[in-house]
């Protein structure tokens, strides 16, 4: 009995201890009937929160405001279809009203009276949940950050050769976790083949030398793409200096590399462009140089040519002067014997030395005429040469134009009368200062021509004054001497040749009338080069010619 009591006492003591233990638990423990939901037992922890709810309905007492058992009730999970206990059901539950999280273990047990009841042990894990959530969020943020930064991290356990990658590393390497062997060798395999030795050596060296590992290399993706990464790591060692683990980062720098390459390409393009442009400019500059040199050469050539031409011109002028001098002196030598021929012919023909027969007279007349013709030719040549050589005498005189004209007419009067021509004159008095003899020479020349080429009719001579304002070609007072005839005239096409040397206009009279071909050439030279005047000719073929001479009153 005592023993029994003792036994009972002992049992009660044991029960008391167990109850104390239960009350000491920092978890809620309660027992509820599985059919009636009546709470049969609660520990101190439940009491601290809900009060002593023993005897109350669990879903009412624990979940306030409910009208029926909890939807998440786990009763059916801990017993089989026959109501016998099966497993311990562990789950987490959030009491949304109380904002608390519980870790709950439910199991069916046989109660002291033999019925099957539910034992629930709920541990407050709100704090753990919060930490977990924060950790999750933190991890999520890390992932996000890594993803954003294209920065992954890895951890290589060197003793077990286990390599773990962060999500971002997988993403960078374009691999799913199941596709990766998670070893250092598996990593090397993913490195771009050409870069493998370099990466391996860099890492090995850094581990061996405890130096930094900060390299860039390429990664070959499954799809053939190539990525550039920057890898850094540090390695931990044990007390003896043996390497334990390496923790590192992988930074995707493909974008940067691409930019770099683009920039390099752009730079190269720019450099090439600049080089090309520079080369072009250099080419242009050289071309310009060449052109400039060519121009300089041309200018030098031109200068030389000009100098040569000037020299040649000077020589020609000298030659021309020598020619004229030669002609002048030669002509003088020709003239002396010719004068003898003319002189002696004249006196013989005048029969000073005795009578001549007709044949002798005729022949001697031919000799005299030829001699005179030759003399006039020589005289003209001398005159032209002197003017061209600028060796002619300048003899300025004051005279009256009227007298000069009379003098000239006197010299040809005989010829006019001999030919039976009518002479009409209309002459003015005009005091002049010029080369009197040259004026006479010109007028006589024009008159001789008029007489020579006029068979019958009139030779008309007139002079008039042309005041400066009307003179046109020169702003000085001029006189105009006009000599016209009713002779054979000059064809239009020949007018322009009149004043050329040794040109004789073909006409029926050309053969009959002797001429030097120098007469009008000489007149023009005298008028323009000595008298500062001008001479013009006009004619109607077959009706007559007119020569007009304009010269300044004062030379």
């Amino acid at each position: 009995m005592i023993a029994e009591r003792k036994q009972t006492e002992t049992a009660t003591e044991h029960q008391q201890v167990f109850l104390t233990i239960l009350d000491s638990l920092d978890a809620m423990v309660y027992v509820a009937d599985m059919k009636t939901y009546e709470i049969l037992f609660v520990n101190q922890c439940v009491k601290d929160v809900f009060g002593d709810i023993t005897g109350k309905i669990c879903w009412q007492a624990l979940q306030s405001g409910q009208t029926k058992p909890c939807e998440f009730c786990t009763n059916n999970k801990i017993v089989d279809s026959e109501g016998n206990p099966t497993v311990i059901y562990r789950w987490e539950f959030e009491n949304t009203k109380m904002k608390l999280w519980y870790y709950i273990c439910d199991r069916a047990i046989k109660w002291s009276d033999g019925r099957i009841v539910r034992l629930e042990i709920a541990t407050d894990i709100t704090e753990r949940k919060r930490v977990e959530r924060e950790l999750r969020e933190s991890e999520s943020r890390l992932k996000e950050a890594q993803s954003l930064a294209h920065l992954g991290h890895w951890d290589l356990d060197l003793r077990g050769n286990r390599l773990s990658w962060s999500d971002e590393v997988y993403r960078i390497f374009g691999l799913a976790p199941q596709e990766f062997g998670a070893t250092y060798e598996a990593f090397l395999e993913k490195v771009y083949p050409d870069d493998r030795d370099f990466v391996n050596k860099a890492y090995s060296d850094s581990v061996k030398d405890k130096s930094s590992y900060d390299i860039e290399h390429r990664v070959k993706l499954k799809n053939g793409d190539v990525k550039y990464v920057n890898e850094r790591c540090c390695t931990q060692y044990d007390e003896s200096g043996n390497p334990l683990r390496s923790i590192g980062t992988v930074l995707d720098i493909t974008g940067r590399k691409q930019y770099e390459e683009q920039i390099q390409a752009l730079n190269a393009g720019l450099a090439r462009g600049i080089a090309e442009r520079t080369a072009e400019l250099e080419k242009k500059r050289q071309e310009l140089n060449e052109t400039q040199h060519a121009l300089i050469n041309i200018v030098e050539d031109l200068n030389q040519k000009t100098a040569e031409l000037e020299a040649a011109n000077a020589k020609l002028q000298e030659l021309d002067r020598l020619k004229s001098m030669f002609i002048a002196s030669t002509s003088h030598e020709l003239r002396t014997p010719l004068n003898s021929i003319i002189g002696f012919s004249s006196i013989i023909l005048e029969e000073w030395l005795g009578p001549l027969n007709d044949q002798q007279k005729e022949n001697l007349t031919t000799v005299l005429k030829s001699g005179k013709h030759l003399l006039s030719l020589i005289n003209d040549v001398i005159d032209v040469s002197k003017i061209e050589a600028r060796k002619h005498e300048i003899i300025l005189e004051d005279f009256d134009l009227y007298n000069v004209m009379s003098e000239a007419l006197d010299l040809v009067k005989h010829d006019i009368e001999k030919k039976g021509l009518d002479l009409q004159t209309e002459l003015i008095h005009m005091p002049m200062h010029s080369e009197r003899l040259r004026v006479i020479q010109c007028v006589v020349n024009l008159l001789s021509n008029a007489i020579k080429f006029t068979e019958k009719g009139t030779v008309r001579v007139s002079t008039r004054n042309i005041p400066a304002s009307n003179s046109g070609f020169q702003r000085r007072d001029c006189i105009e001497i006009s000599v016209s005839d009713t002779g054979i005239g000059i064809p239009d096409e020949s007018i322009s040749k009149l004043f050329l040397p040794f040109v004789r206009i073909p006409s029926p009279l050309t053969l009959k009338v002797k001429g030097t071909g120098l007469g009008l050439y000489l007149v023009k030279k005298i008028v323009t080069e000595i008298l500062s005047g001008e001479i013009t000719a006009s004619s109607i073929d077959g009706e007559g010619s007119s020569f007009i001479l304009k010269i300044p009153v004062k030379l």
Partner: protein, 121 residues
């Protein structure tokens, strides 16, 4: 017969002038150099002298001067024969003491007209 001195080195001209003078009734004496001419002029005292300016030795200008400076009659007319190739001859001719001149070439048919026109002055 009046004596005329012709000082002319050109034989042809001398002959032509002589023909003309003789035909007009003059006696012609001739010299072919300036020196000879001066000497003859002083010695012969001709009626007039025809003097070629372009002479060998002393020229006509110098000869004329010497005649005029001599004791010979200073009134003897001296007629120069000039060449129009010679610049400024006329001024020199008159300055030397010639009374007149005619130009070459010599036209025997007109020479006497010229001479008489000069002598009459």
């Amino acid at each position: 017969m009046k004596k005329v001195l012709v000082i002319e080195d050109n034989k042809d001209n001398l002959q032509l002038i002589s023909f003309a003078l003789k035909r007009s009734g003059y006696e012609v004496i001739a010299a072919t150099t300036g020196e000879e001419g001066v000497e003859m002029a002083i010695r012969e005292m001709p009626f007039f002298i025809i003097m070629d300016i372009n002479l060998p030795g002393i020229n006509g200008i110098e000869a004329t001067k010497q005649i005029r400076e001599s004791k010979a009659d200073g009134t003897i007319p001296i007629i120069a024969i000039t060449s129009n190739a010679m610049r400024g001859d006329r001024e020199k001719v008159f300055a030397a003491g010639c009374n007149g001149y005619f130009e070459k070439p010599i036209d025997p048919l007109k020479i006497m007209d010229n001479i008489h026109r000069i002598i009459k002055k």
